[in-house]
Amino acid sequence: MDEFTIKIGVEIHVQLKTNSKMFCSCKVDMSSEPNENICPICTGQPGTLPLPNERAIKYAIIVSRALNSKIPDLLYFSRKNYFYPDLPKGYQITQYGISTGYGGQVPVIKGKEILYFPIERINLEEETAKSFYVNGKVFLDYNRCGIPLLEIVTPPVFDSPDILINFLKSLRRILIYLGVSDCNMERGEFRVDTNISVNFKEVFDHRVEIKNLNSLSAIKDSLEYEINRQKKAILNNVKLTRETRLWDDLKKETRVMRTKEFVEDYRYFPEPDLPPFEVNKHYLSEELPLLPDYYFKELINNGVDPKEAEIILSSPFLADFTLKILEKFPFQKFKGWILTEILQYIDDLESLRDLPFNHLDFISFLEKLEEGLIPRHIGQDIIRSSMTNRVNISELIKDKIEIKSVLEINEVVEEIIRENIDVVEKIRAGKVSAISYLVGQTMSKLKGRANPKEIKDIIEKKLNLK
């Protein structure tokens, strides 16, 4: 059966996180009421002209650089002509003939390794309006129309759905680290169309494109379904054809949307409203943020388990935070505090951008635990209180275990000795282990705000045991 070969490729559309749209100054905000963020330009009114969004161009270049793509010196836009209600101008301004990025690759984490998968091109373009289907009627929200969109295309190099999923996770992570998109799949900020052909010995041209994939599991399920369908067809000598199929996430099956007998001709030509422009040299030299593969290598080198590393990598903030802690403490000493204690209060790890405390606060928290100044259960209380009330742990530590001065400790110790003459007698008689009882009593009177070792020393001194 292994004589089947599987070739999968993807086309990814990423909404860029800019303040305004690609060719007008309308706000990018899909949480607004429908058709609130629109203007004459993004609704294609007669006489309007596009104005390119500098930040979007910068983001496209940053992504191309991060993926090691080649960036031409001169860029221009083209028009892709077709009719659809979500496209008010009757054409989409996109890149054709020239791309912002050519080639390049995505470092993909697989187990302990990093594999590299190629990119074909990266294009900057504009979004279309969002369509809703209610009771057989179509509604259009032009808030989405004109949002900057990055199109990332790969060659058909993936031989299993699993490795493709790894690729997509890695790519998303990179885009999130670059800060160019939130890549929220549910909100449609990161959309994937796949193409797949299963071949048996001979190679046929029956590339099948799959659309309507709204989650990673839909991508995986649809590809698995399609692999089975194509294998069965080959074994039964049923001819496979080039077509586009739609994934039905409820029925868990793909079905034909259109065959490729009719190929749409988009009549591309260079956008005459936007002259070619040189790539801004600053965008090429500006320092890029550190990327997930860097953090991954660092974490692994510090003995972090690959699975745990992947969890930490989900948030660029957390990855950075963890590396800073690793400079002071080995991972084993604090991994429970992060992976179990802190993360239990985080709903969406990817959107984790800060904690109520910085790495210095957390390091001093760990030091106090280490010194025994904070008992474990108190530490857990501190984390819970910090995370749920968004209060700095340093504040809580001060509050909970404000360290008593030696003088205060002395006073309390004397009191305890007076109250426990019988125990003192036992100790003097040789039952040294009873000291810990006195230490415990002192600690509870001090509400834990002292170092037990120090208390022990004081008691021993008072009883002339040293």
Binding site: P40, G44, G47, P50, L51, Y91, R267, Y268, F269, P272
Partner: protein
Amino acid sequence: MSLIRKIISNYKEGNNFPSEVLNNFFSKAKENKFNSFITLNEKVFDDADILDRKVREKKIEGRLFGIPISVKDNILVKNLRTTCASKILENYIAPYDATVIERIKREGALIVGKTNLDEFAMGSSNEYSYFGPAFNPFDKERVPGGSSGGSAISVANDEAVLSLGSDTGGSVRLPASFCGVYGLKPTYGAVSRYGLIAFASSLDQIGPFSKYVEDLEIIFDVIKGKDEKDNTSVKYPDLKVEIGYPLKIGVLKESFSDKVEDEIKEKLDEFILFLEKENVAKIKEFEMESFEYAIAVYYIIACAEASSNLARYDGILYGFKKKGENLLSMYENTRTHGFGEEVKRRILFGTFVLKSGYYEEYYLKAQKARTKILREFLKNFEKFDLLLMPVSPTLPFKIKEKVEDPLKMYLSDIFTVSVNLAGLPAIAFPYTFSKNNLPIGFQFIGKFFDEYLFFSLLKKIESLLN
């Protein structure tokens, strides 16, 4: 001689009020003897009232203070209907002001109304208008020229002091010449296209009409210059015009070919003799190898761009809509019934030349020829300060004479289109009249940003001729 200065100085001396001057022009416009207007701006008298008050308060400010101006109906004036002489935009109310409109309003201009044109500026006779043809004020049986026929008529017939039109392949110069007024086609990018309904984006330029060359200079001063809303607009260079007479002027050899009517050739000879006698210019013939290809190149590029620019008129968001049983038939019905024959012809032609497989053969080749045309012009400017040629090979022709023969009609533009392809400035000016009292005029073509050279030279010629 400047009508603008005369009117404004009358205001300053308290001889007239803007509403009186407006009324003189407006009442003629309202007669609409030559069908020059599609929509009159009835509310303009409210604006004039405000200016009247300013005259009383002696607060006369603005370079176009109280000057009645008409605007071609493919330039958006906020809250006024903008039809483009098409059924598809018959009831379209402009939601914003074009940049040129903002600029003339700021200087106190009074907008009389919106003038007739060939539908979407596609035509040379103003016969292809959904609102009926316009007529030549010198002979009602003849065409006023197109596409800005209404604009030229409104100035010739004192329905406005100035008019704004647009020139894609001669649409300002041809009607100016047929109606005996001045018409300027500025350097591409010198005037913002924002708010001009696009026909062919890489060729379109807004240009003014006037009876006196000085007035043309005044309005050009107001409308020229970089506009942030138009990416193809440029900063107009600060040039001092110093003319050393006699100028070296080249006259195109084809001006005397058998394609040109004898009377025009005779008058051109006469004009050349006049220039030499007055020591204004030394004139020599020049040749242009690419001249004979200009029409073909022009129609390929103009129609290709038009096919895309007019895709937005689809019945979805605005404009005429004719329902159908499904989306495709709605598109078909809307565009079949919404557009006129000439517009459809050009859309089909433009769609054809952009088809994949034909793109290289037509569109790309035309672009190469376009570069060649510019190079040939620039080579001639090494020898000459300006170039001279007729605007049209014929006198104003009879209505219906060419309307059934598009190729014959396209040849009306033989002397005008190459200027648009090269992006150069050109000015049509009135010279004399034919035996049957039809205007005859010619055009000067300059290097980029030679507009002020035109004005200086023509002011001299104007005074010499009077």
